[in-house]
């Protein structure tokens, strides 16, 4: 039902959104490690005044087992204020929660009780397949004229992957987004420059290339994604591919400048075949053409073979494996998760061409197993990271993707969620009070913050 004034969590610009009150709840994807029990959407208490601060206060189980919850997002966000498609009198209320393996899409209502979301609708995989021709839904963003969901491939597990559209109001699958996909085949993440009518997409692999684990032959043969794609957002047309080089494998997370007048963003690359390093690339526009250049490179760290899983023994090194990045709403700090080494880094990217490392913390890691002040040695490593709207709190979890978790951490990842306090002028400190171990048999993935966070909203005004 339409409201009388705009949802108070909608902000015209990212700068204004930084004035938002501190979040008191987090929503978190919780997946069954064996896939035998239903996954759940968890609610974590983030209110430091609360007696259950840092604890899981609710879990909403999905109706089926084996979904593999991964990423999720809101039905509506600040893009509802965009001038050409305004619809500000809707509510940020529903969480759209896809199952990456099942292709089932769940709609949860957070309004009656934000601390106990309820499933109000389930879109079955057949409907996604039939209406969009896609499967394995991944990233989700609320756009000015619909909800966009990226999907890794076709129902048979092959390519191409792409983007499907969901209706804003009834959450019906409207169909495939692309009118002309050009040479694009692989899909993963996507990001918008709303001020420029541009969409950027990245590449992982088709479902068949990833669902039984990372395939070493495909990796060494440079078969995983190594390109960015630039799209005309209005005409839904592919306009340019940017090849980062065949040795740059697994181009995953994209974080565009939050200021819509700026035409640049950051892309994380998991691994370089040359030296096992990880990197962050800056895409930008100059003279009407889009280009990308490497702005951060993190080297692999030497390690004894007996410290390494079978997949890495031969290399005698642990790769950083940048699996997630995030950007604060003032476009100032970039956070980089190194899932292999356990390094979690904060860079000042005020000058996006020359990031400056400002601080880092270590937790887990294939070799180090670095502990938290409130824990013993940990495994897994910093992965899905979310930043509060004011930029002062950073939360992350430690699981990547079930089939890949088992290859890099064969002993079995014990899930956890932690929080860092970020200094507005640079600096990162683990909150010693905040250590949330996952329940036995479960693992955590993406976190979304109540009212929005640094990657949930796209803005139309600077």
């Amino acid at each position: 039902m339409a409201t009388w004034t705009p949802d108070p969590t909608f902000y015209p610009s990212a700068r204004m959104a930084m004035q938002a009150p501190a979040e008191k709840l987090a929503y978190m994807a919780i997946l069954s490690v064996e896939g035998t029990e239903p996954d759940a959407l968890g609610v974590v208490d983030l209110d430091p005044q609360s007696s259950s601060y840092g604890e899981l206060i609710n879990r909403t189980p999905m109706p089926n087992a084996g979904d593999e919850l991964h990423h999720f997002g809101w039905n509506a966000c600040s893009s509802a204020l965009c001038p050409y498609a305004p619809h500000p009198h809707v509510e940020r209320r529903y969480l759209i929660v896809p199952g990456l393996r099942s292709s089932r899409i769940h709609i949860l209502d957070t309004k009656p009780d934000p601390r106990a979301p309820q499933i109000i609708k389930v879109i079955e995989p057949e409907e996604v397949h039939r209406r969009a021709g896609y499967s394995r839904p991944h990233t989700l963003h609320c756009g000015p004229e619909g909800i966009y969901v990226s999907a890794l491939g076709a129902p048979d597990g092959e390519g191409p992957g792409g983007i499907l559209l969901l209706d804003h109001d009834a959450f019906d699958v409207l169909g495939r987004w692309e009118v002309d996909r050009g040479p694009q085949q692989l899909a993963y993440d996507f990001a918008w420059h709303l001020g420029h009518d541009v969409q950027i997409t990245s590449e992982w692999g088709t479902p068949n290339m990833i669902e039984n684990g990372l395939v070493p032959e495909l990796l060494l043969g440079s078969k995983y994604g190594h390109q960015l794609h630039v799209w005309d957002l209005r005409r839904r047309k592919h306009v340019q591919s940017i090849d980062l080089g065949a040795e740059q494998q697994l181009v995953l997370e994209l974080r565009q400048a939050r200021d819509p007048t700026k035409a640049y963003g950051f892309a994380g690359v998991v691994i370089s075949l040359k030296d096992l390093s990880s990197s962050v690339w800056l895409w930008h526009r100059s003279n009407g053409q889009w280009a990308a250049q490497k702005v951060i490179e993190i080297p692999a760290e030497p390690a004894e073979p007996d410290q390494l899983p079978p997949l890495l023994k031969g290399f005698k090194a642990v790769p950083p494996l940048i699996a997630d990045i995030n950007l604060s709403l003032d476009d100032r700090f970039l956070y980089v998760s190194c899932w292999g080494t356990g390094d979690f880094r904060q860079y000042d990217v005020s000058d996006p061409f020359h990031p400056r490392l400002t601080d880092s913390v270590r937790l887990g890691g294939i070799v180090n197993h670095s502990p938290h002040p409130a824990s013993g040695p940990l495994n897994g490593g910093p992965q899905m990271v979310e930043v509060s709207r004011d930029g002062r709190r950073v939360y992350f979890t430690n699981g990547l993707y079930r089939a890949w978790d088992a290859q890099f951490y064969p002993e079995g990842i014990k899930g956890w969620m932690v929080k860092c306090d970020a200094d507005p002028n640079g600096g990162l400190k683990l909150d010693p009070e905040f250590f949330l171990p996952a329940e036995e048999g479960f693992r955590a993935h993406q976190i979304r913050l109540e009212g929005g966070d640094s990657s949930s909203d796209t803005f139309c005004y600077p």
Binding site: A2, T5, P6, L81, Y84, A85, D197
Partner: protein, 215 residues
């Protein structure tokens, strides 16, 4: 004196549309902010006003033509039903503009035309054009009809102009104040649901028109 009221109503409706963020001033401000240019704000306002005028003109032409062929009471009843039906439709309609931020003048004009038409901006002019009485005397009613119908094309053009100029003036004033001084933060609280007001205005006008016609 009463002959002035239709013109005041036309101008007032124009100003009301001009103030609505969804009718274009916000788009003009956004384009100005994106291009960091006050000139871009002003340049956007003209095609936005022109698109709005085209949408309203379609209604004025339609009414002018229908007036030649149909009895005024039949027109009033039909218009009343149309207003109420459109109001109810707006209650459930889900319109999203389709555009982007890289738009030409022609695209802005088309966008504004579509937004005004989907909104039913011109429909509210129908009661005024049919000489909807402000008071309740039936003789005044006829008097207004005469005031409009006797001038014909001239009156139609004047009606369009006064509505559009009022719309442009209101939109332009808000756009400049917001772009230069006020900023957009106030939208978070002050962007009231004008669509909802509009639904009740359409239905209300339809009901009044119907009562008047049937009396």
């Amino acid at each position: 004196m009463n002959a002035v009221w239709p013109w005041v109503a036309l101008a007032g409706l124009g100003a009301f549309h001009g103030l609505n963020p969804a009718m274009g001033w916000l788009f003009a401000v956004a384009l100005g902010l994106q291009r960091e240019s006050r000139a871009a704000v002003l340049q956007a306002l003209l095609p936005i006003a022109a698109g709005h005028a085209l949408s309203v003109a379609a209604v004025i032409v339609a009414i002018s033509v229908l007036r030649v062929f149909f009895d005024i009471t039949a027109l009033e009843i039909s218009a009343a039903v149309a207003l109420i039906a459109f109001g109810l439709y707006r209650l459930v309609a889900r319109h999203r503009g389709r555009a982007g931020m890289q738009v030409s003048g022609a695209q802005l004009l088309l966008w504004s035309f579509l937004m005004a038409t989907a909104h039913g901006a011109g429909l509210m002019l129908i009661p005024v054009l049919l000489g909807m009485p402000i008071g309740d005397a039936h003789s005044e009613h006829s008097h207004h009809v005469a005031a409009f119908s006797s001038i014909g094309v001239g009156a139609a053009l004047a009606a369009l102009s006064i509505h559009t100029l009022a719309m442009l003036a209101a939109a332009g004033a808000v756009a400049i104040v917001v772009y230069e001084w006020a900023g957009l933060a106030f939208l978070r609280r002050s962007w009231i649901n004008i669509d909802l007001i509009w639904v009740f205005a359409l239905i209300g006008a339809g009901v009044i028109l119907l009562v008047m016609a049937l009396r």
